[in-house]
């Protein structure tokens, strides 16, 4: 207790008697819900979307596309001076009654491995996103 003169003590006593403002009911729960959402966003949102798994998935997908397109003659990379030849792509596009020539040079085990990895990362990505969505809806309720 502070030692002050009678008149100032009267001010202090009045303020102390009034006490603090009473917080609205349920404020603690609302704060905890917000904290739940914030910590979920930190741990789950960033991880599946732009985390290492997400980037690996995107990387494998892009590399897979490049490898497959090179071996199906869709790019001009084999010529040494063109990364992507749009004319070649159009010329090789299947016409009615004429199928596109696909010459696979990639060994089958490597192809299956690539497909397996793609499937694994896709499932992992999907499941973690679903798990996060479920936890966020639980945190909001």
């Amino acid at each position: 207790m502070k030692t002050t003169s009678g008149s100032t003590d009267r001010v202090g006593n009045m303020i102390r008697q009034a006490g603090p403002e009473i917080p609205p009911p349920g404020m603690t729960e609302r704060i905890m819900n917000r904290i739940e959402v914030v910590s979920l966003k930190k741990s789950q949102v960033i991880s599946p979307v732009i985390g290492i798994r997400g980037w690996t998935w995107i990387g494998i997908f892009v590399i897979g596309l490049i490898v497959l397109s090179m071996h199906t003659g869709l790019t001009g990379a084999a010529d040494g001076n063109r990364l992507w030849d749009a004319g070649n792509l159009l010329r090789s596009f299947p016409h009615p009654g004429k199928s596109m020539h696909i010459d696979f040079q990639v060994p089958k085990p490597l192809l299956f491995g690539l497909a397996g990895l793609l499937l694994w990362f896709s499932l992992d990505f999907l499941l973690s996103t679903l798990r996060w969505k479920k936890q966020v809806s639980k945190g909001k309720s």
Partner: protein, 200 residues
Amino acid sequence: MRHILQMNNPADAYIIEQVVAGNKSLFAQLIDRYSAMAFTIACRILDNREDAEEAVQDAFVKVYEHLGNFRQKSKFSTWLYRIVYNTAVSHARSRKPFLQDLDGMAFQMPDTSSSDGLVYGFTPVEASELVGKMMALLPEEDRVIVTLYYLHESDIDEVHTITGLSKANIKVRLFRARKKIQECMARFPDTVSLCSINTQ
């Protein structure tokens, strides 16, 4: 003695340690312990319960996010109230200015005729209403200073840490606020609205 009182509550230190370690449900205990004073500080600045709750929520979320950075060199309450104060000030700056109805500030003093055993003849509810009205006569920062000094029983150093104002400025503001409140109280049982006209 004062030094001992200013030390961190051991229970706070344990809870903070546990929350940082991942036991976030314990954070609710810290909220329960300090939400009343945090809410009071926010109310004094924002003068509106809804805005004050929003500011307090934001402040507690910030505290949770940065709890690992709290080095326990000061009291947890001091650190928390500083964040609440800054958050409430930011909210006050960002919200649209509103016109206050001065007529609404006029009120009759509570009836003190049957008030045996009550301090100055007021029930806590009446005192709360009266203090709220008197606080409305003060600038935002002065309200917080008076609240921290009298209600939280902070010393000038702690008020300085929470508000960031200089110690000399705090003393001057405290003196002026006290004088204004005393003038209002001296006019009992006149209305505070009359007092507000005379003292401004």
